[in-house]
Point group: C2
Chain length 198, copies 2
DNA sequence: GTCTATAGCCCGATAGAC
DNA sequence: GTCTATCGGGCTATAGAC
């Protein structure tokens, strides 16, 4: 249906505009009118395409969490060695940052906005689901003797997960053009892995 | 003067209430009326104590940056060994998180709010000033052979500074009672330092 | 599908009584 | 020093014309 297709194009364009502005200025500081202005449409008219501002926020994040689930699954299934799994998890994370840069930045910057709304609970549960994976790699590494025996699994896994995400945010915002994700993932995993094996 | 002293007490009480609410819910999501309710006063009456909401935000952060300057100065002056300086910098950071927990959390969560207002430029310049210190330790460590030679100074120093702060935020919010700052700083610096010397 | 126009709400801040 | 009362403005979202 051509009407639907044309509608989808406009819709996709507006989603992209909203994602860009939300990532640049934050959700709370970007009004519906701002998005309308940037998309060449009046604020009120956006409600023909979306039911609410949060629907738009939701559309930006839908897909990214399940994509990361799949990337982490692949990262863990390739090997049984904890150090190799760790490096693969770092690379998988940066692959996601590269595919969903706006969702990455918005999630990092607007945690409080998202946490205050029950409809975005799926983002928090995804983070906890992924933390269990990071934690399992740390525990396996300690048990198998690949990582140092004195690591606190909870502290270590939180630290590496947080460090990878915050490095990803910085990269998306400041140096995406200058440095490839493989370079960055390699340098990041080398530092963090050295701390676990050292 | 007793009137001034009594006024200062009330003022300090309101600052503490504002700091708590800003840290819990975020600045944008905490209204003047919210602070008034929590302090047992009407919103409008707060303007007898402060000129604006941002004045209150400012009072919460004033002092913490210069205190951190001093802590870092002391950390660096104690030794010339880069590894020891690194551990001292981590400890200094957590000392600051312990002394100014609300300022720490607000700074981490409301970066966008603060970055959008010129009056809070001093927070960003402080972060850059402190980053130069982290970077100098990394560079000194590489040059003196204490750290691995292949470290990218910019990436590494950003990573450790970010990782320390985000770990501090998590600690302030979730486990301040359960774990002392010395324990946490020790575990954190051990992991990060291992990545630099590994 | 986009427009005009506005309802309804919350916000920061102010004026003046007590 | 706190109150009552309110101004002026921005916001999300809606109703109905075109």
């Amino acid at each position: 249906m051509s009407a639907t297709a044309a509608g989808s194009d406009r819709r996709a364009e507006i989603i992209a505009t909203g994602a860009r502005l939300f990532a640049e200025r934050g959700i709370a500081h970007t009004s519906i009118r701002d998005i309308g202005d940037a998309a060449g449409i009046l604020g009120g008219s956006l409600y023909h395409h979306f039911r609410s501002k949060d629907d738009l926020v939701d559309l930006i994040h839908r897909g990214s969490t399940s994509a990361l689930d799949q990337l982490y699954r692949d990262a863990l299934s390739g090997t049984d060695n904890a150090a190799e799994q760790f490096v693969a998890m770092v690379h998988a994370s940066f692959e996601m940052f590269d595919r969903y840069p706006e969702a990455t930045v918005i999630y990092m910057n607007d945690r409080q906005y998202l946490a205050a709304r029950p409809r975005f609970d799926y983002l928090r549960t995804a983070e906890e689901r992924h933390h269990k994976l990071w934690r399992s790699v740390v525990v396996r590494g300690v048990r198998s003797g690949v990582f140092r025996p004195d690591l606190d699994a909870e502290l270590t896994s939180r630290l590496v997960q947080d460090a990878v995400w915050i490095t990803g945010r910085r990269w998306v915002r400041t140096s995406r053009a200058r440095r490839s994700i493989d370079e960055l993932a390699g340098a990041t995993s080398k530092i963090l892995l050295g701390g676990l094996t050292g």
